[in-house]
């Protein structure tokens, strides 16, 4: 009969990514998740047009990934992109901000509960976070679970450009979380305001309202990159490596 879901599932085979046991495949890290890289011929800051978000800093000659919305307007100004459908090198971009205490792996073990709060996103980051629970990424295999209430949460994922109406909500949410607690800023908007840096609705980066431990750049970051951020927060990644 047609309703044998198990058979259907078996027929599908394994869809789930091998990450973090091995590097993610090119399918899992899409092209537009890769940051611009200045070549020797780079024109700072990003040609006459300039970088729309100010991510390209002509003073330090550095690209601030937290601001980059991956629009690639700078490609004409000597910034290189790995093209084609994805490349793994440099794909993983999440980093600790320095707030994060060491030894989180010891604290959380293999159970890590995460809550997402939207403080003014365009919905793309929300969807990418939700996508983590689909079979391709299958968050629960790593003991990471989404929760609905900050009172059950170990970590808070903040997405979106912080809106005036959400400042108190964000603070209340953070205060309702039990210690020890971690905060992930996911996406350019949460980290720096992204493209909405100068928009009326934007108040401040999430990190100004509550202490942020991990940032995951991207616009939006792909699920694997968010996963990397989560593993980093839970203390399950080595500094550079794939798996502790």
């Amino acid at each position: 009969m047609p309703k044998i879901w198990i058979l259907r599932g078996l027929k599908k085979g394994i869809l789930t990514t091998a990450y973090p046991k091995s590097q993610p495949t090119s399918e899992e890290v899409p092209t537009r998740s890769l940051p611009p890289r200045p070549t020797d011929a780079a024109d700072w800051p990003a040609g006459e047009r300039g970088c729309p978000t100010g991510a390209i800093d002509s003073g330090d000659k550095k690209v601030d990934l937290g601001r980059c919305v991956y629009c690639r307007f700078c490609s004409s100004a000597g910034f290189a992109f790995e093209d084609g459908f994805g490349s793994r090198a440099g794909a993983m971009q999440a980093s600790l901000t320095g707030n994060c205490a060491t030894g989180t792996r010891h604290i959380f073990g293999r159970s890590f509960h995460v809550m997402m709060i939207d403080v003014g996103s365009c919905n793309a980051c929300n969807l990418e976070v939700l996508n983590l629970s689909n079979p391709y990424y299958d968050l629960s295999r790593m003991g990471i679970a989404f929760t609905n209430s900050p009172k059950h949460a170990d970590a808070l994922i903040v997405v979106g450009a912080l809106n005036q109406a959400m400042v108190d909500v964000l603070r209340r949410t953070y205060e309702s979380m039990p210690e020890p607690k971690l905060v992930l800023s996911v996406g350019a908007c949460a980290i720096s305001g992204g493209i909405f840096r100068g928009a009326e609705g934007f108040v401040s980066p999430a990190g100004d309202a509550i202490p942020v431990d991990v940032v995951v750049p991207g616009c939006p970051p792909s699920p694997v990159q968010i996963l990397e951020g989560l593993l980093l927060a839970a203390g399950r990644l080595k500094e550079e490596g794939v798996r502790r």
Partner: protein
């Protein structure tokens, strides 16, 4: 050996003190209640002595006819019921000293008169004395209900309805007694000496007794008789506690007493009791869960609990029919035990609810009225014991007895025929469902009525030592009856011993799996067992460990790496609403049941558009009564009956009676004597 004169003097002491309280109540309320409390304490002492010693004492008063004396008697059975009632009265009197400040003095008088008549009902040794007590009890409580607050019309209607049901009950009981008399040839069949009567009139006697006493207990289909007077008249809390927990207890006593004098049980008696009991339990629980009246809700819950008692009696009857001695014994003890735990828990709930309603100025559970500071803040946590006991949560009194009732039903597979087995299983399901619904209901009444209402800073009425004392007294009693269940089991089995031929305590109370001897209650030789005492100890130790950890962490936070955290409530990110209209209320809590069971509750929902304002109307049973609309077929029937009775009583009151209490009693006496003479003549 306890000397008979000790019991006699204690009995007369109790009666004298209560009588004195009745008179004193006309002058000084507080003193009267104190006197009543002392009298009740004396009654409790008397019954405890009589119960443990097993001593039976009969006191002849005067000769009624050639064979029967008007008698007072103390036997283990009525001593057990006297013990329950006395304990309830003691607490109620204590509470009343602090509570009864804006009711007239006559309320205290009537309350004590009601208690006095109940004592007479319990210690009566013959049908005659019993009925005198019964009638004066009915009439005293009728006047007590008339003292209730609320709209005058409603109070009067409720009181008259109560009286109508009371008289109906009296008539049925008289018919039952008449049957017993014709078979036994004496009026002293209430007495301890009487042997079991086997007679072709048995069905007649049983059915009239079940219906007559059932009317008093508010069993379906007479459930109006219980909740309506209490809820509708918003009777004083101490009066409601008395009505709902001990007045209905008299009905339980009556049924058990009549059954104890009958022999030759027939199978269908048990079926009848099971059916009426099961339906009452379920209906009571369901109606209780949708009630928004802080007194109507517990009153419905009384129907549920009395239903359970009747179910246990039904199992007793069937088991006796099939000679299942062990099951019969356990079922009877379960009925007696449940009467105990229900009475104390229910009285406690009424008193607590009454006090909270008084503080909030409303009987409406879904009201947003706050509780003012001062009175009752410390009493709120206490209420959890009462609520949990009625919701049957271990190890409290209510759990032990409900567990026992359900265990008897589990064993209905032992019955000898298929019908009984199926009925047993069905009724078991109904009782279990009722118990489950009560959990929801008690959450509601405790949550919305006691725990969750907002607090205000401005001080309100002060509770005082007496109110607090009364409520603490009941809480201690509830915990004690649960934790010391084997002891209560002993008392209940002592009460049942004459009926069962021997004290059934032995096979049921034992030790098991490392729990020492008298602490495990078994429900049958190869059946379930449970130790309330050790459960209580386990709970207590968990509580103590938690408290110890909390204390330790508070004292030295950093060393343990643990802290006591206080975080604000979580409202999905929004700030906590201060507005009362933004708060979840008890009406909303039980609306899903109203909507799901609309066929039962006849729920009607309508949205009325008034200009640009939308008004919604959902009608719950309570509101139906207020609007005098149709609740169900029973209510419709009784409405018609009430109209007819009102017409009749208007006629008779003009022609026959001037409305005086004495004349009423004379009238009842005359009716009784008429019936008795008729039966004497017809049976030769």
């Amino acid at each position: 050996m306890i000397p008979a004169y000790l019991i006699t003097s204690l009995l007369f002491g109790t009666l004298a003190l209560l009588g004195a309280g009745f008179v004193l109540g006309l002058f000084a309320k507080k003193a009267a209640y104190m006197l009543g409390g002392v009298g009740s304490a004396l009654g409790a002492a008397l019954s405890l002595i009589a119960l443990t010693s097993g001593r039976m004492v009969a006191i002849d008063l005067w000769l009624v006819n050639s064979t029967s004396y008007a008698q007072l008697q103390v036997s283990p059975l009525n001593a057990y019921f006297l013990l329950i009632s006395s304990l309830v009265w003691l607490g109620t009197c204590l509470y009343s000293v602090g509570y009864d400040d804006d009711y007239p003095k006559s309320l205290s008088s009537l309350l004590l008169l009601t208690i006095l008549s109940m004592v007479i009902v319990l210690v009566s040794g013959d049908a005659f004395t019993f009925l005198i007590g019964w009638e004066s009890m009915t009439i005293a409580s009728f006047f007590m209900i008339l003292e209730g607050k609320g709209d005058k019309e409603g109070v009067r209607n409720a009181a008259y309805l109560f009286l109508a049901f009371g008289e109906g009950s009296s008539v049925l009981i008289m018919l039952s007694f008449a049957g017993l008399f014709s078979a036994a040839g004496t009026f002293s069949f209430m007495g301890p000496a009487a042997a079991r009567v086997v007679t072709p009139l048995g069905p007649w006697i049983f059915v009239t007794a079940l219906l007559g006493f059932g009317l008093k207990m508010g069993l379906a289909p007479f459930h109006m008789s219980e909740w309506l007077p209490i809820a509708h008249s918003s009777a004083a809390s101490n009066a409601s506690a008395l009505l709902s927990s001990t007045l209905t207890l008299m009905g339980v006593y009556g049924i058990i007493d009549v059954v104890s004098h009958l022999g030759g049980y027939q199978l269908w008696w048990g079926w009848l009791a099971l059916t009426i009991g099961g339906v009452s339990a379920l209906l009571g629980a369901l109606f209780s869960s949708v009630s928004e009246h802080s007194k109507g809700l517990p009153a419905y819950s009384t129907i549920e609990n009395n239903g359970m008692i009747v179910v246990a009696i039904g199992v007793y009857l069937i088991a006796t029919y099939y000679n299942l001695t062990l099951l019969a014994d356990f079922a009877l003890v379960a009925a007696l035990f449940h009467a105990f735990s229900h009475s104390i828990s229910k009285a406690s709930l009424f008193l607590l609810n009454g006090w909270m309603s008084k503080l909030r100025g409303t009987f409406d559970l879904s009201s947003a009225n706050p509780i003012p500071a001062g009175g009752g803040r410390g009493l709120r946590p206490l209420g959890i014991f009462t609520a949990l006991s009625l919701a049957a949560v271990p190890p409290l009194a209510g759990f032990v007895s409900e567990w026992m009732v359900l265990e008897t039903l589990f064993q209905s597979f032992r019955f000898g025929d298929l019908t009984s087995q199926i009925l047993g299983a069905l009724v078991g399901a109904m009782v279990a469902l009722a118990a489950g619904i009560m959990m929801v209901t008690m959450t509601k009444v405790y949550g919305f009525g006691i725990l969750w209402p907002r607090r205000t800073a401005e001080p309100g009425k002060k509770g005082g030592a007496y109110i607090g004392g009364g409520l603490v007294y009941f809480t201690v009693l509830i915990v004690a009856v649960g934790a010391a269940a084997p002891g209560v089991f002993y008392l209940a089995s002592q009460a049942a011993s004459r009926m069962l031929g021997a004290n059934p305590y032995g096979p049921f109370v034992t030790g098991l799996l490392g729990v020492p001897a008298p602490f495990v209650i078994l429900s049958g030789s190869p059946f379930g067992g449970f130790s309330p005492t050790f459960t209580a100890l386990a709970f207590l130790s968990i509580l103590l460990v938690t408290l110890a950890i909390t204390g330790a962490v508070r004292a030295r936070p950093p060393r343990f790496g643990l802290r006591v955290r206080r975080t604000p409530g979580w409202f999905a990110g929004a700030a906590q609403a201060d507005d009362s209209t933004a708060m979840y209320n008890s009406f909303g809590y039980s609306t899903p049941i109203r909507i799901m069971l609309r066929f039962l509750f006849r729920t009607k929902e309508s949205v009325v558009q008034v200009g640009s304002v939308q008004r919604t109307v959902i009608r719950s049973p309570e509101e139906y009564v207020v609007d005098l609309e149709v609740l169900d077929v029973f209510k419709k029937f009784y409405d018609a009956l009430a109209m007819w009775a009102l017409g009749l009583s208007a006629y008779t009151s003009r022609r026959v009676m001037s409305g005086k209490l004495g004349l009423y009693i004379v009238y009842i006496m005359a009716a009784l004597i008429f019936v008795l003479i008729y039966i004497l003549l017809t049976t030769g």
